[in-house]
Amino acid sequence: MLPLELYQGIESAWCPGCGNFGILKACKQALSELEIKPEDLLMVSGIGQSSKFPHYLRCNTFNGIHGRSLPLAMGAQLANHELKVVAHAGDGDCYGEGGNHLLAALRRNPNLTLVVHNNQVYALTKGQASPTTDQGYKTLLQPEGVAYPPLHALALAVSQDCSWVGRGFAGMVEHLTGLYKQALTHKGFALLEVLQPCVTFNHVNTYPWYQARVYDVEKESGYDPENELWAYRKAKEWGERIPIGVIFKRSRPLLEEAHPVLRAGPLVRQQPERPIKELLADFF
C-alpha cells in the first residue's frame, strides 16, 4: 500500500458536498492499495466538472476537449501500453458529445478504464438536461420536463460485449473503491459508471434518492455477471431499484493485440530503422 499523500493534487473547484469528492477518495484509495505509482498512471479527461478530476490527483494527465477523452486515451495507450491509462468523463461528455467514441471503444476493447461520472445533469453549464436525465425532469431549458427517456449506457455496453461493466455510487466510497480496484486490474475495456449526486443543480437525484434505491447486485440470488442476458436486464434496471456492483464480464482480445507491431513492446520504446533506399524500392 502506497501513502495516500502521494496522490495529492491541486485544490479542487468542486462545490462543497459534490459527489465527485467520494469518487476521488475511492480512486486514491484503490490506487494506493494497488500500489500504482503516479508516474505509471495516465489520466485522460474531457470537459466538465468530472474532467477536472485528473488535476485533483497527482499523476500524468492529458485533459483534452469535450467528449474526446476516449480517443485521446486509446492513442496514448497504443503508443505506450505499459502506462496504466484511465479516462474520466461525465454523462454529457461521454454519452452525449463523445458517443461515437464509446461505440468504437466497445468494439476495440482497449486495455483501459473509463469512469463515467453520472450526475444526470449538465452542471458546469448550469442545469440543462443530459443524456441520462430522467424523463419528465424539469430544467430551465426543458421547462415542460425532458421529453425523452434516458440513455441506458450500461445496457448498450453489455449489448456490445463490453469487457467489464460496473456501477458504483459516490455515496458508498468503500464499495466504490472495490469496484475501482477491479476495473483497474481488469484486462480489457472497463466501464465503471458512478452515480454522482450534483448538490447544486440536481434536486431530484440526491444522496437520499440514490441511497433509497441502490442495492448491491452481487448479493442478489441468481447473480450471473458472465451471462449477457442476465446482465442486460440488470443494466436496464432503473427507477425504484438501481443495481450497483459488477454487472458484466467478458474476456476479449485487446486492442493492442490487433497491432502485431506491439508484440515487440510498447511503440514508444521501439526504434524504427528505415533506410531510404529500401523505402524507395517499391517504386522502380
Binding site: 491541486i10 503516479p38 508516474e39 505509471d40 495516465l42 485522460v44 470537459i47 477536472k52 485528473p54 488535476h55 497527482r58 499523476c59 500524468n60 494527465t61 492529458f62 485533459n63 483534452g64 476537449i65 474526446r68 476516449l70 480517443p71 485521446l72 486515451a73 486509446m74 492513442g75 496514448a76 495507450q77 497504443l78 503508443a79 505506450n80 505499459e82 502506462l83 461515437n100 467514441h101 461505440l103 468504437a104 497491432h259 502485431p260 507491431v261 506491439l262 515487440a264 511503440l267 514508444v268 521501439q270 524504427p272 528505415r274 531510404i276 533506399k277 523505402l279 524507395l280 517504386f283 522502380f284
Partner: protein, 569 residues
C-alpha cells in the same frame, strides 16, 4: 526531334483503365522515358467516365499538358469525349466490341477481344493486355519488361490469368508492331540508375516513414485516403500502428494521445473531414502537442467535387481554430519535395511542439511523376527534441522560457509527471483562471513563432533573375508554372517563377527578396479569390498585378497559365 506525346486511356470505372496504365507507365520509365500521368475520375465505383493521361518524353517532365496523341478507348464515350483533342496524326486504339463510331482523323487500330484471346472468354483481359501490348508495339518498345510487370501485377490471380495477359499482350504487340506513326521510342535505352515512378502522396508517406512515423490515424476521404493506404500497406513491414478511426474527430485525438505518449504521430483528411478536426487542432496548439496533419484539398464548399483538385483551403488551414496559436504550413511542388517536407514537418512539430500541416491536393495526391533517386535525400535528420534524462526535482511541462519552447518530457519515463491541458494552464499544466498567467502563457506559445519564422524559407526560383515578368505560385502548381515559364522564355518573353513551399509562418523577408525586381507580378493559384496573394499582401505589403486562377476542379496545364497571361505578359 524531342519526344513529347500524350497517351490518354479512357473508359468506364471498373473497365481497366488503371490496369493498363500502371504496367505501361512503369515499362516506359524502365525504358528510359520520363513519364507523368494524371488521373481524372468521378465519385463512383462503376460506370461513369474516367481517364488517365500519360505524358511521355525523353526529357524531365514536371507537368501534364494538353492534347492527345494516342487515344485508347475502352468504350464509345471515351471517343466522343476526347476525339477533338486527338492530334491529326494521332492514333486511336479501341475495343472493337464496344466502339462503333470512329473519328475522322488519325490512324485507327481495332482490338477485337475474340481475335486477341480466341479460345478464352476473358474479354476485359484481352482488351486491357492487348492495348498495353499494342501501345508498346506502336512505340517500338520491347515487350519483355511489360511481360514481367504483368506477372507481378496478376501473379496472385494464378498462372492461368497471367497466361491470358501474356498472350493478349503479345497479340496486341504483333498487331501494332508493323504500324508506322510519329511516336517511336526505339532510340530510348534504360537509364544507368533506375528512376522512380511515384505519386505525391506516396512520396509524402515515405518521407513520414523515413522520419520515424509510428502512429497514423485517419478516416477515409478522397483524396486524403491515399496517404492512409500508402502507409497502411507498409505498416507491418516498418512497425507502424495504423488505426482507422470512427470519425475525423477521433482520428486527430488518437494521434494527439499517441504523440503525447511519445511517438511520432500523423493524421489527416480533406477539407470536410479536416473541418471536424478543428477543435482538436486547437488542443494541439494549447497543449503544445506535436502533430503532423495532411490536408489534401479538393474543391468545396461542403462536399464540393470529391475527386477533383483545388488550392482553396489555404486560408482555412492558416486560421482554423479559435484564437491565436502557432502552427506551420508546408505545401510541396513535387513528390521529392513532398518526401523532404514530410520529414521536415516532424522535426518542426517536435522542436516547436505545435501542429504542422502538409497541405496537398488531389492533383499532387494522384499524379505519378518520374523522379531520380538523387532527388531524394540519402538520410533524413530526426530531431525529437525530447528531454528524457534524470530531472532536477519538480517538472513543469509548460515552463516559461525565452524562446517559448518548454523542455518536453514523456509520461512513464521517470518520476517527473507530465500534465497537459486544453484549459489555460499554469507552467505545471494545471488549469487556472489567473489572468496574469493566461497572458504569460499565451505570449509564451506565440513566442515560438519568432524563432520558427527564421527557419522558414522553401523558395524555388526558375528563370532569369532579371526577367520583368514573375509568376508566383505555391504547392502543386510548381510543375505547370515552371513549364509555362520555360515556354515563355523559349518564345522570347523573359519570365521567371517564384514557388513557395513554406507558407506559415510566412518567410516574408525571403519572399520579398525573391520578388524584388519583379516589374510585373502574377500570382497563379487554384482557387477563386487569390488566397496566397492575400497572404503575400498581409505579410509583405506586396501584391500581384494580375491573378491567374482556376477552380473548375481540373489541374493547371501550362496552356491554362499561358492563356491566363494573355494581355498581361
Amino acid at each position: 526531334m524531342a519526344i513529347d506525346f500524350n497517351i490518354l486511356i479512357g473508359g468506364a470505372a471498373g473497365q481497366g483503365v488503371h490496369a493498363i496504365t500502371g504496367p505501361l507507365a512503369k515499362t516506359l520509365v524502365r525504358q528510359g522515358c520520363w513519364v507523368l500521368f494524371v488521373q481524372d475520375y468521378q465519385s463512383r465505383i462503376r460506370g461513369g467516365h474516367l481517364f488517365n493521361k500519360i505524358r511521355v518524353s525523353d526529357r524531365p517532365l514536371l507537368s501534364s499538358r494538353e492534347g492527345v496523341d494516342l487515344l485508347v478507348a475502352l468504350n464509345q464515350e471515351t471517343v466522343q469525349l476526347h476525339q477533338d483533342e486527338l492530334a491529326p496524326d494521332g492514333v486511336l486504339i479501341y475495343d472493337a466490341s464496344k466502339v462503333k463510331e470512329l473519328p475522322t482523323q488519325g490512324l485507327k487500330l481495332a482490338l477485337d477481344p475474340d481475335t486477341l484471346l480466341p479460345e478464352q472468354r476473358a474479354a476485359e483481359i484481352a482488351v486491357n493486355a492487348g492495348a498495353s501490348g499494342a501501345i508498346l508495339g506502336l512505340l517500338k518498345v520491347p515487350l519483355e519488361p511489360m511481360m514481367a510487370l504483368l506477372l507481378e501485377a496478376f501473379g496472385a490471380k494464378g498462372a492461368e490469368v497471367v497466361g491470358w495477359n501474356h498472350k493478349a499482350a503479345a497479340a496486341g504487340y504483333r498487331l501494332a508492331a508493323g504500324v508506322n506513326n510519329g511516336h517511336s521510342l526505339a532510340g530510348m535505352t534504360p537509364p544507368a540508375q533506375p528512376r522512380l515512378l511515384i505519386s505525391g502522396h506516396e512520396a509524402l508517406a515515405l518521407g513520414a516513414l523515413a522520419a520515424g512515423l509510428q502512429f497514423l490515424s485517419g478516416y477515409p476521404m478522397t483524396p486524403w485516403s491515399s496517404v492512409l493506404n500508402s502507409v497502411g500497406l507498409r505498416a507491418a513491414k516498418w512497425g507502424v500502428v495504423v488505426e482507422q478511426a470512427e470519425d475525423e474527430i477521433a482520428a486527430i485525438n488518437l494521434a494527439l494521445g499517441a504523440s503525447f505518449a511519445g511517438v511520432r504521430a500523423m493524421t489527416g483528411s480533406s477539407g470536410g473531414g479536416f473541418s471536424l478536426m478543428v477543435e482538436a487542432l486547437g488542443l494541439a496548439g494549447c497543449s503544445e502537442t506535436p502533430l503532423v496533419i495532411v490536408e489534401a484539398q479538393r474543391p468545396g464548399p461542403s462536399t464540393g467535387l470529391p475527386t477533383r483538385t483545388s488550392q482553396g483551403d489555404l486560408s482555412f488551414v492558416l486560421s482554423a481554430g479559435q484564437d491565436d496559436f502557432p502552427r506551420a504550413v508546408l505545401a510541396s511542388g513535387t513528390p521529392a519535395q513532398g518526401f523532404a517536407l514530410a520529414a521536415r514537418a516532424f522535426n518542426l512539430a517536435d522542436r516547436y511542439q505545435l501542429p504542422v500541416f502538409l497541405l496537398t491536393d488531389q492533383y499532387f495526391a494522384d499524379t505519378n511523376f518520374t523522379q531520380e533517386v538523387a532527388d531524394f535525400p540519402e538520410t533524413v535528420e530526426i530531431d525529437r527534441a525530447l528531454k528524457l534524462g534524470p530531472g532536477a526535482g519538480a517538472y513543469a511541462r509548460y515552463a516559461i522560457t525565452a524562446d517559448g519552447i518548454s523542455p518536453r518530457r514523456l509520461p512513464g519515463f521517470g518520476p517527473e509527471l507530465v500534465v497537459a491541458d486544453s484549459d489555460e494552464h499554469t507552467p505545471d499544466g494545471h488549469l487556472t483562471e489567473d489572468l496574469a498567467v493566461r497572458v504569460q502563457m499565451h505570449d509564451k506559445r506565440l513566442r515560438k513563432l519568432t524563432k520558427l519564422v527564421t527557419e522558414m524559407n522553401g523558395i524555388t526560383t526558375y528563370g532569369p533573375a532579371a526577367a520583368p515578368l514573375t509568376l508566383a505560385c505555391w504547392g502543386s502548381s510548381l510543375g505547370p508554372v515552371q513549364e509555362a515559364v520555360a515556354r515563355l522564355n523559349e518564345s522570347k518573353t523573359p519570365a521567371r517563377m517564384v514557388h513557395l513551399s513554406e507558407l506559415w509562418p510566412f518567410p516574408g523577408g525571403a519572399v520579398a527578396a525573391a520578388l524584388k525586381g519583379a516589374k510585373k507580378l502574377v500570382m497563379v493559384e487554384m482557387n477563386a479569390t487569390g488566397q496566397a496573394n492575400r497572404l503575400l499582401r498581409q505579410e509583405t505589403g506586396l501584391k500581384a498585378d494580375h491573378l491567374v486562377l482556376k477552380y473548375d476542379g481540373t489541374p493547371f496545364t501550362p496552356e491554362d497559365i499561358l492563356r491566363g497571361l494573355e494581355g498581361h505578359a
